[in-house]
């Protein structure tokens, strides 16, 4: 076998082995590269910064599942940290049936950390007053439209089966008028439906945290201003983690930063393999032509 044939026919087991090393290695080494913040991530961060404390709430629609957790879960944690650090009430909900478990985990991770370090009531977070998780609801298009009339009408009980009327936060916020922005964390088309229905009817501001595969579809919505900001993929999550760290809302970086190192190494590896494959292809073609 000639050298150019060899580099274009590398056994897939070799590729898989090198890939595994590239994914695992960054978790055991400590290196940090400066993140160049994308404008749409900064836009979302700035929007949250512009919301006055203890005024309007942020509604987070947790619509991701375990499959896309590595990209969307760090986004949820960074976003919750930012909102709570700025005393912005958070209401959570889900239209993806697999999402509630992850939403509960993200909220519990952040609230437990804040409450552990709290010195007074002002520093701590109370369920029902500072945050609420409403759980899952079927018929998502009808539900998101109807929430414009009454959130408690669509979600009469929260995820833990408590009546939402008993929560001071839901007494203050019963429709989109008291919601500063709805942020959808998803790996599918939920943000598009939020833009098509509740935004066009009630004018609610929409933000998104999407997987890297989904993000390119939403660039037109950023340009038109229908999306008030967007985190795209693990990079978006790492950027948001960096933003809240540099602004003093978090003490350390989250999991997306480490994930980005793995992802970068895998991307470099894929590029190297594609180049090798193409070199082999060109030399093989050249050889074929010369033989003809």
């Amino acid at each position: 076998m000639k050298w150019y044939e060899a580099i274009s026919k590398i056994d897939r087991r070799i590729i898989y082995s090198i890939l595994t090393i590239c994914i695992i290695l960054p978790f055991f080494t400590r290196f940090k590269m400066r993140q160049n913040i994308m404008p749409q991530t900064k836009q979302l961060f700035d929007f949250i910064e512009s919301i006055p404390s203890n005024d309007k709430a942020v509604y987070i629609s947790f619509d991701y599942d375990p499959q896309t957790m590595p990209e969307c879960h760090p986004m949820a944690i960074a976003l919750l940290k930012h909102c709570f650090a700025r005393n912005i009430p958070v209401i959570g909900g889900s239209f993806n049936v697999q999402a509630p478990g992850l939403a509960v985990d993200a909220i519990a991770t952040v609230t437990d950390e804040i409450n552990r370090n709290a010195l007074s009531r002002d520093d701590s977070l109370i369920y029902g007053e500072d945050y609420v998780y409403l759980g899952w609801k079927s018929g998502f298009i009808a539900a998101m439209i109807d929430m414009g009339e009454s959130i408690s009408g669509v979600f009469p009980r929260d995820y833990f089966r408590s009546s939402v009327d008993s929560f001071p936060l839901l007494q203050k916020v019963d429709n989109y008028k008291n919601i500063a922005i709805v942020i959808i964390l998803s790996a599918s088309d939920y943000p598009e439906y939020w833009i098509l229905y509740p935004q066009s009817r009630y004018g609610v501001k929409i933000g998104a945290g999407l997987t890297a595969v989904m993000a390119p579809k939403y660039y037109p919505f950023i340009q038109t201003g229908q999306l008030s900001g967007m985190m795209s993929g693990m990079k978006g999550a790492a950027e948001y983690e960096n933003l809240i760290l540099t602004h003093g809302y978090a003490k350390k970086l989250g999991k997306a930063e480490t994930g980005m190192n793995s992802q970068s190494m895998v991307h470099i590896l894929i590029i190297v393999f594609i180049i090798l494959g193409n070199i082999g292809y060109f030399f093989a073609r050249k050889n074929e032509k010369s033989q003809q």
């Binding site: 590398i10 404008p39 697999q98 018929g139």
Partner: protein, 207 residues
């Protein structure tokens, strides 16, 4: 009658809901809200149907000892066990339900999706060849976006991240907008065909 009644309901409700959407009068809003609540309940029934179908399909498979029937046992056992745990012991952050969800279902789901990285890298290596001008352009764009979006990219050239962002904001956006327009027009045409009774495949059967 069997076909005319659903067609009539579809036409009336379709037209009424379109008109209702553009009238912000309390009467219209209350009507819209009521219909939306009906829709939410109907969608929940679809879930019940799905569960029923799942039970029937896997029960038959187990009864007839078809290939892979032990997996059906695992599916049904998991479904009933998780339902019972959630219903009787709750779904609080420190509950057994949440523990199983986070430590069994989540790693399993993440693992399945993570396998894609292996298949994609192997497929990209084998199939991504600069065979034509279009393929070369695609390859170049993919390289620039991949390197530009990596933190590593800014160390190669400070112009790389803005250029990658430009690719996303201009050529990508133009094509995405074109697709969006196409989908929107297609959706409007299909919706009108269903409301007017031209498209009847949703009724099932022939004709």
């Amino acid at each position: 009658m069997k076909r005319r009644l659903p067609l009539a309901i579809c036409f009336v409700m379709g037209v009424v809901m379109i008109i209702q959407y553009f009238i912000p009068h309390p009467l219209s809003l209350n009507f819209g809200s009521m219909i939306n609540k009906w829709y939410i309940v109907l969608a929940a029934f679809a879930l019940v149907l799905a569960i029923g179908n799942l039970i029937r399909h896997h029960s038959k498979k187990i009864q007839k000892r078809k290939q892979g029937w032990p997996y059906s046992v695992v599916t049904l056992t998991s479904m009933f066990a998780m339902s019972a745990i959630g219903l009787f012991w709750g779904v609080a952050p420190d509950s057994l339900y949440q523990l199983i969800y986070l430590h069994i279902l989540t790693p399993l789901g993440a693992t399945m999706f993570a396998l894609l990285a292996y298949f994609m890298s192997s497929a990209a290596y084998r199939a991504f060849r600069a065979r034509s001008l279009e393929a070369t352009l695609l390859l170049a764009a993919a390289f620039i976006v991949m390197i530009g979006f990596m933190p590593f990219g800014q160390y190669i050239s400070t112009h790389l991240p803005p250029f990658a962002e430009w690719i996303m904001r201009v050529p990508n956006m133009a094509s995405q907008r074109g697709i969006l327009f196409g989908v929107a027009f297609g959706s409007i045409a299909t919706a009108l065909k269903i409301i007017l009774g031209i498209e009847r495949s949703w009724l099932g059967g022939k004709e």
